[in-house]
Symmetry: C2
Subunit: 220 residues, 2 copies
């Protein structure tokens, strides 16, 4: 697989994830920031390598083989992201570009050892799931803390209310986007929630809980 082929496979995967109908040439061209004619050329090539099912004018979808390839690339990308954030101290929102390069490094042994070294993480710094070596993974969903059941664990990925006051509150309490957060207790009385972030336990009000999004793994 060339670098370019891998990028196309990944793009098709991201466009087609979950959906049933095939992906259009145009959609791929937009995603890859290239021309539809270039996409057509590549689709023929990938079809010849059994990575995609391609019917002229009818769009394209990944074969079993293509999907496993995509998942292997995504696995590498996300493991490298964990490395960059957890080990090298990058911020969660500045790792994508470098991981786009690192995901193309070819060495199964490297990825196995990296996975072990990182403690076999299940999610990347954005809360997205990391596929296993065999290509299995749980989907993730973005939900408000207030919508999640007790015991949920996820990554802070966004806020509903981006007012300066709210962001300041988060900052003051040492909560940053990218942090892992666990729901310990919920108070029916006032909707307040006990959480654990960065090894600290704290209680947040219903108002906070209704404004902070967590990316959590679906429970199968």
């Amino acid at each position: 697989m060339t670098l370019s082929e891998e990028d196309y496979i990944k793009a098709i995967y991201h466009l087609g994830s979950g959906k049933e109908q095939p992906i259009s040439t145009n959609a791929i061209a937009v995603q890859m920031e290239t021309k539809p004619s270039s996409v057509t050329d590549m689709l023929k090539k990938l079809s010849g390598k059994n990575m995609v099912k391609y019917k002229k004018y009818k769009g394209v979808s990944l074969t079993e083989h293509g999907e496993l390839t995509a998942l292997s690339i995504i696995r590498k990308h996300r493991l490298w992201e964990v490395f960059l954030v957890d080990k090298l101290g990058f911020a969660w929102d500045e790792v994508h570009e470098v991981a786009e390069q690192l995901e193309h490094i070819k060495s199964d042994k490297l990825i196995d050892k990296l996975d072990t070294y990182l403690g076999n993480p299940r999610v990347d710094p954005h809360g997205d799931p990391i596929p296993s070596k065999e290509g299995e993974f749980k989907k993730s969903v973005k939900k408000l803390i207030s919508e999640l059941p007790l015991g949920s664990e996820g990554v802070c990925v966004g806020v509903n209310d981006s007012s300066a006051a709210f962001l300041k509150f988060l900052d003051k309490n040492g909560i940053s986007l990218g942090d892992t957060l666990k729901i310990l207790e919920k108070e029916d009385f006032d909707g307040s929630v006990s959480i654990e972030v960065n090894n600290k336990e704290m209680r947040i009000s219903d108002q906070i809980a209704s404004n902070l999004f967590l990316e959590v793994l679906e429970k199968n």
Copy 2:
């Protein structure tokens, strides 16, 4: 710089290191496992980018700019090798191929952070020096322990006497190629040497010291 350009620059650097006369087209072709005509094409291209001084039929040498580029690539290669061995647990003799890929990753911030994370190592797992960000580095030489002065510190890189008995001795005493070794004391009387390896102190006979090569940094 493309991947291919970087590989040529590195090859020219390795062939020309220290020598005064320019590098021949043929030598580069052998090193790169390619045809002389391909080399000629690339030399024209690199010359246009001010990376090499090239005179038809007269060979080539790196410009200042080309040399700094080479050193930056070597820096990246060797830092990644340290990472693979120290952090991921690769053996010192199985990292080269992966490092050849990793050295092309483009991100100054990544290399800065990696360097810090690894504790600013001065040598790679083969005992070769790691150039600084500015392209400065001490040369290294391969010498027998018996030839080195007190206080020398280096990496075990080879043996003079590869007899089964000698290799077995090293193994039994927990000395492997790639280990860092320090010379603590030398006994004039019998030529025996006190050394530190893997946080253990031990005494080796003159016979051992005359058969084990260390790669050490030159003292300027």
